[in-house]
Chain length 343, copies 2
Amino acid sequence: MKNIRKQPTIKDVAREAGVSLKTVSRVINNSSKVKPETREKVLKAIKTLGYRPNAVARGLRIKKTYSIGVIIADITNNFYSNIVRGIEDVALSRNYSMLLANSDEMLSKEKLYTRVFTEKQIEGMIIVPSAGSKEYLKPLLKNVPIVFIDRDVEELEVSSVTVDNERGAYELTKHLIVDHGYTKIAYISHTMGVTTSDKRYEGFKRALYEFGITPIAELIKLDNKTAQDGYRATKEIISSGNRPQAIFTSNNVMALGAMKALEYYSLEAPRDIALVTFDDIKWAEGFRPHLTVMSQPAYEIGRHAANILFKQMDGESKLEKVVLPTQLIIRDSCGCTMIKKNN
Amino acid sequence: MKNIRKQPTIKDVAREAGVSLKTVSRVINNSSKVKPETREKVLKAIKTLGYRPNAVARGLRIKKTYSIGVIIADITNNFYSNIVRGIEDVALSRNYSMLLANSDEMLSKEKLYTRVFTEKQIEGMIIVPSAGSKEYLKPLLKNVPIVFIDRDVEELEVSSVTVDNERGAYELTKHLIVDHGYTKIAYISHTMGVTTSDKRYEGFKRALYEFGITPIAELIKLDNKTAQDGYRATKEIISSGNRPQAIFTSNNVMALGAMKALEYYSLEAPRDIALVTFDDIKWAEGFRPHLTVMSQPAYEIGRHAANILFKQMDGESKLEKVVLPTQLIIRDSCGCTMIKKNN
DNA sequence: ATGAAAGCGCTAACAC
DNA sequence: GTGTTAGCGCTTTCAT
């Protein structure tokens, strides 16, 4: 912060224009009436001085910072970057800025950032909750509106925007079983302990049980953190003596890992094995294989969450748990197109 | 901001602990000596009251907000999200938070956000400059350190972190010409008027001229904004009477569009046509085709930019224009693997 | 080792 | 219409 020239303040403007502080303040916020010629004088003084209002001082005074905090797992995950985009578009329309942080699924980082953001007096927060107790949030909740996205924390009275993960996974699994007749299905999940992962696994099992299929422990790989983990898990599955007919990955990161593993064994979906995943991977549209997915409306999740947050900041409404629909997008990797060809 | 219980202040803590304001302040910042038992008293008061320091008030006083501003084109573009990740990781290590904004390549949004961020007293900014005059930045530059990333603004004395776009595009084009013997090469660029786009186009042309190849106007589609634009441009190229042997897309967004267009015509790269692009698309690793690319170190760009920014914020160094290396990654889509197979 | 008072830049009462 | 005063929550002289 060296050789930073002192910025002119409202006081300098007042002196330059020969008016009082309050008059300048009035002009800046164009509140109440100011005589046009006075206003002109002030505007001119602002211009010649290059005055810019100090939002920190203003924020301290009016107790409004026009900032919200957003904590997601990892912005390089396209699903989250689309959510963030939805949030920012809403925030912009309200003249709010967004402080962004990545938690990397670590509760410690999540806690750190909620603390920092709160100290910075953000007016609301949108959080993708990591696994682990949310006890630490309780004192905060009285003071700052929070909305959870992607995952819910059921024991907490906090608004959330999610999708029906159990049902989505159930439907996707059912497609594999009913429309393709697969019975030997591998499952690769992301981090357990968060609702997305837990519920999807439940949905998967429900479909299996419903059709009398017993899960094969060897083909179930839970709690993977990175694409690399998904890659390894898939390799184990493929190289086991018990190769499945289909693989279900619980999110886009695992799907990426699984795809690489198939590549490794020169396996093609759906020719050699079927692959479906929760989460769409939109950018892969032009690439092969075309994945059959249970898609989530990422951008809309962000928009909804932001809208709910602003409503709460406005003092309206209290608790709102929104569950957005997922969509089964049948493309090639499940084997549907092969069936068609064979007919 | 309704039913927000008034947060306890340092004053309340002082009263509760029976000490002065300054003593509390000292404990919080653990500056100078405080008698252990006094410190204990204060700590206890902080705990019982649930006191959290107000960073806005602190920021106003010490003129330090521990925040930086980041303006990129679009966070849903994986290239930018990786850059942002690099920035945040450095910022976190310095205890700084990041205000993030998307400019959507619109100068108006860029201007708006630089103004807002400056008013919020961020201590530095990292910007992906949109096309258009950067005159508006001149007054700011004296007051706040700025680092440009991805693209440079040559007429401005501002630090930047970029790659050698001209050379990268030249090398990639040369690969097409020399190693594959292609002479009929289409070019699809993203938004013109920014150095990435302009320089890559120059590099492309230089390679052509060097080998005595005349660019074919019909196959050059400049200034596309979205993947959809790239999709359309590629369709025009394919459906022209003059189908090229290879397509060069100037960034990952255009590559995505081009891939979809190839799909549309059931064309496969490299079997039917070669395709190469500037920017790697890492997540496509498991998908086909495997794109031959000129890769940029996105995360490193972010890290470097943040490090330079912090150096400037510390008052060290002045101007620093860093040019990071790109890397030619030869995979399948250029036709190299086909050549191997044929041998 | 601790306290009193001033002030960061702004806005909200309340005058005039 | 406009100015004066006080104060947001904190840190920083300067005393003690």
